[in-house]
């Protein structure tokens, strides 16, 4: 099964479960959770089901395309089911069956792994899901976002698509993944699509990002976010919060953040996230 068919099949499966299939968010994020379709919609009472692929940037994980298991940008398939259905686990296992992972042949395990995003002020309890010892998904019940209680609680599923595809295809390097399933000259590998980006962004993230400019951009995003919150514009404000979060990750990758500064930066982003979430909730009532 090619990388893209894996995505098609998972999306089709979740569409059949009543999820709207959305597109990736167009601001740099560290995980699918940050997409407003999860971060904002997990709050408030309205039912909501969505699934989407989200390119997720983790600057410190970059290895210049030289490590077969690490990327500075990987892809998550994110599912949110609100309220959390009682058969969440069965649905998840059925989704694995839909991409050919048969429970009769594998050892599928739910191992404790609580989820927390300090910058988003969010946490939930759940598991990492192992298939024959390989972690292929995160499964969490959302308890808080932006420091606000989720009521009702949602189920959040995150599939690490590269890992899952490596497992399904039986390859040892992410860059060898069959991307499109074509043969001969039409065959495209993951490496052909992303290797250059890995190399160049690793260089940017670790060596060439201008730290004084990043610091200035962070401050700008913070000010802009506050100003937009003042005007009750929750979503544009949240974009600025996401930008601040990514700028902080870049500073971190550049090694420009000391331990004490680190905690302070996280608190600043979290304060923005909380303000955005409160603004979002205030707006839905009116």
């Amino acid at each position: 099964m090619s990388f893209q068919s894996l995505i098609f099949d998972l999306q089709r499966f979740w569409a059949e479960q009543g999820c709207v299939i959305l597109q990736p968010y167009d601001v740099e994020v560290g995980a699918g959770t940050f997409h407003p379709a999860t971060a904002s919609r997990a709050l408030g009472p309205e039912p909501w089901r969505a699934a989407y692929v989200q390119p997720s940037r983790r600057p410190t994980d970059g290895r210049y395309g030289e490590n077969p298991n690490r990327l500075q940008q990987h892809h998550q398939l994110q599912v949110i089911l609100k309220p959390a259905p009682a058969d969440s686990r069965d649905l998840y296992l059925a989704s694995l069956a839909a991409i050919g992972i048969d429970a009769g042949l594998h050892d599928i395990r739910f191992v404790e792994d609580d989820w927390e995003s300090p910058t988003l002020g969010a946490w939930g309890l759940g598991w990492e899901v192992w298939v024959d010892g390989m972690e292929v998904s995160q499964f969490a019940y959302f308890q808080q976002v932006g420091g606000i209680e989720c009521d009702p609680v949602s189920t959040e599923l995150t599939y690490g698509l590269e890992r899952l595809a490596m497992y399904v295809q039986g390859v040892e390097s992410m860059f060898d993944l069959d991307y499109n399933g074509a043969s001969g000259s039409g065959r495209i590998t993951y490496g052909q699509v992303f290797k250059r980006a890995e190399r160049e962004f690793s260089a940017y993230n670790f060596e060439f990002a201008d730290t004084s400019r990043l610091v200035a951009h962070f401050a700008d995003a913070e000010i802009e976010c506050r100003a937009l919150v003042e005007r009750g514009l929750a979503l544009p404000a949240y974009d600025q919060c996401l930008k601040a979060s990514h700028l902080f990750n870049l500073l971190d990758a550049r090694g420009a953040v000391s331990v004490t500064e680190r905690a302070a930066y996280i608190l600043r982003v979290r304060a923005l996230a909380t303000a955005c979430c409160e603004t979002w909730l205030a707006g839905t009532g009116g």
Partner: protein
């Protein structure tokens, strides 16, 4: 007599929480039954798996016993309104139902009320609901089906009393007589009549309910798998406990480790397999790592585990490829050139960087090196390098390999093996069961590290209180004690603690820090010696000589005193001493004066008195010399 069967079916409960939770549930149900005056004739059984918590209580009486209550009312002949009020409060209708008792102070109405015991089936639901609600999970969550916070969502509850469903109030969580077996091996619903039925059906549904039984099955499976290949199992009690909490139907499978990876240090292999994958390691007959790993799966697959093994082998290859990448990368940079990075690593916000810490350790070496008789150059070199491995990628990935990697990397850099060992051992002993370093250079580094941490944290007011000991200072103090005692080090501890407190004078006076820390170490020593079998009285006597800070001598004194008191001579001395001191006490009372002046030899008349006096003088001179050493 009836049987209570309770099963809470739940989404996977974290392994580390299972035993505490089931122990609590069992205890609280036992207690609540007792308070409700329902005495089960048999001990309550309890079982736990990743998906279920089960309580079985046999021999429960069908109803609570009746209870008689005698309630005193107003005096006979009291005003009508008082009598009517009493009747109302007791639920009776006329004075004919009251008795008249002759009591001190006159004749009183007494209501003898018989409270009928309620049927167990009425009492149990609230009692069980309360017990469930009280389970103290380390972390709990909300979920849509119930207002009851729980560790993970409850799927359903089976609750039967003598085969009859007890309706527990648990919102939308189904409560009844059904459950489910193994998630993959027996997916259907199971309907249960009574307890024996339940146990049988679960067995058929591939659930090994009893955690001890499951653990034993795994242990035997592991032993069998290694024996088949002529290897032995690297014992790991903690991991065995953990995997017992990850499976309902354990299947032990063996996989191969690629030969390429067998050149990695054994600790790296074991840690990479254990920390992330929960695999057991195997050993060759000569104790070196064998190229096999064992995993405990939770599924019997149609191909006999082939796919599962192949998948796990592939995951392990990726993990070990990562580890080898770190191993190769880390060795490109000499450990000694990692020292600069330590200046950026915070030890504690108030206590500076790790570089600051190693400088302080180096100052303490001035004092420790001569008394421990270590090689000064080697000890200082080891201190200089002790923390350098914290900036390696391997230790970042596997923090439990700190020190161990320092040894490998320093040997690779060509450092003296004694330096490498001192780096590896300086975190030891890690607990009462861990071995204690014994080479002089290791002792210097281990002691300076621990004493510096203790002194620093005491200086900033972070001494342990109650169960709060976030910096593991009790363990550090015990480490100091064991390093000193087990190596017979003659150290003036007070002097050493004063030196260690010097860098922290901006927080508190150094004498105060040292004294508080000394008392803390003395307390830990007291506890340590008690656990070694020393009598409380002996220790109190020894510790009263407050100025003693040579721990070795202190313990020798305790041993001599305890041995002597246990001998016939000791017993006679105690008797004689007690008798003499009683006589003196009586004489002092009679004469209203003290007899504590110097002995005047001129007053000694009898031969025995003179001999005793001379002998005492001679012995106390010698004793003084001996005790002063």
């Amino acid at each position: 007599m009836g049987e209570l069967l309770l099963e809470l079916l739940c989404e996977e409960i974290p392994a580390r929480m299972q035993l505490d939770a089931i122990g609590f549930l069992q205890g609280v149900i036992r207690q609540r039954l007792l308070s409700a005056n329902i005495r089960a004739t048999e001990p309550i059984e309890s079982y736990v798996t990743p998906r279920r918590m089960v309580i079985i209580a046999r021999g429960i009486p069908d109803r609570q016993p009746d209870r008689t209550e005698e309630r005193r009312g107003p005096r006979v002949g009291a005003p009508q309104s008082a009598v009517a009020g009493f009747l109302r409060s007791t639920g009776l209708s006329s004075t004919a139902e009251l008795e008249e008792w002759e009591l001190p102070g006159g004749k009183f109405y007494v209501a003898v009320l018989v409270h009928r015991g309620r049927p167990a089936i009425e009492v149990l639901p609230d009692l069980i609901r309360g017990a469930i609600a009280g389970v103290p999970w380390p972390k709990s969550m909300r979920y849509p089906a119930s207002s009851l916070r729980w560790v993970r969502p409850l799927t359903s509850v089976l609750c039967l009393f003598d085969g009859q469903v007890l309706p527990l109030p648990l919102d939308r969580v189904p409560v009844g007589r059904t459950t489910r077996g193994h998630r993959f091996l027996s997916p259907g619903e199971i309907c249960v009549g009574k307890t024996a039925d339940y146990l049988e059906r679960l067995r058929e549904a591939r659930v090994v309910l009893d955690q001890n039984c499951r653990k034993e099955t795994i242990r035997q499976g592991l032993e069998g798998a290694v024996a088949a290949e002529g290897f032995s199992l690297k014992p790991d009690a903690g991991l065995l406990e953990e995997v017992t909490g990850l499976v309902e139907f354990p299947i032990v499978l063996a996989g191969a480790i690629d030969a390429d990876f067998m050149t990695l240090p054994p600790e790296v292999l074991t840690t990479a397999m254990r920390a992330h994958q929960k695999y057991f390691s195997c050993l060759q007959p000569d104790g070196t790592p064998a190229p096999r790993f064992l995993l405990v799966a939770n599924n019997v697959t149609v191909d006999g585990g082939k796919t599962v093994i192949a998948g796990n082998e592939r995951v392990l290859r990726a993990r070990l490829a990562d580890a080898r990448f770190f191993w190769d990368q880390d060795r490109r940079v000499k450990l000694s050139s990692r020292i600069e990075a330590l200046a950026d690593r915070v030890f504690h916000a108030k206590l500076g960087s790790l570089h600051d810490k190693t400088c302080r350790m180096d100052d303490l070496a001035d004092f420790l090196v001569p008394v421990i008789n270590a090689s000064e150059d080697l000890a200082r070199r080891a201190i200089f390098l002790a923390k350098a491995d914290l900036s390696t990628q391997m230790v970042a990935e596997f923090p439990e390999l700190q020190g161990v990697m320092g040894r490998y990397y320093s040997l690779y850099d060509g450092e003296d093996p004694r330096v490498a060992n001192a780096i590896a051992e300086h975190y030891k002993p890690l607990g009462p069961d861990d071995t204690c370093p014994s080479s002089p250079e290791s002792i210097v580094v281990a002691l300076s590290d621990k004493i510096d941490s203790l002194s620093g944290f005491f200086a900033i007011g972070q001494a342990p209180t109650g169960s709060r000991d976030p910096f593991a200072l009790r363990r550090a103090a015990l480490g100091v004690i064991r390093l000193i005692l087990e190596n017979g080090l003659r150290i003036r501890l007070r002097e050493c603690l004063l030196l260690a407190a010097e860098p922290f004078q901006s927080f508190r006076k150094k004498a105060d820090i040292a004294e508080q820390l000394f008392n803390f170490i003395a307390d830990r020593l007291h506890i340590h010696l008690r656990s070694q079998g020393f009598e409380y009285d002996v220790l109190s006597a020894i510790f009263q000589r407050g100025s003693e800070d040579d721990l070795v001598r202190l313990v020798l004194r305790a041993r001599v005193l305890q041995d002597f008191l246990a001998s016939d001579d000791g017993a006679s001395l105690l008797t004689a001493y007690r008798r003499a001191s009683n006589i003196v006490a009586v004489e002092e009372r009679r004469g209203s004066r003290k007899y504590d002046d110097e002995v005047d030899p001129a007053l000694l008349h009898q031969q025995e008195e003179r001999v005793l006096f001379d002998r005492l003088a001679e012995v106390s001179d010698r004793a003084g010399t001996l005790l002063g050493r």
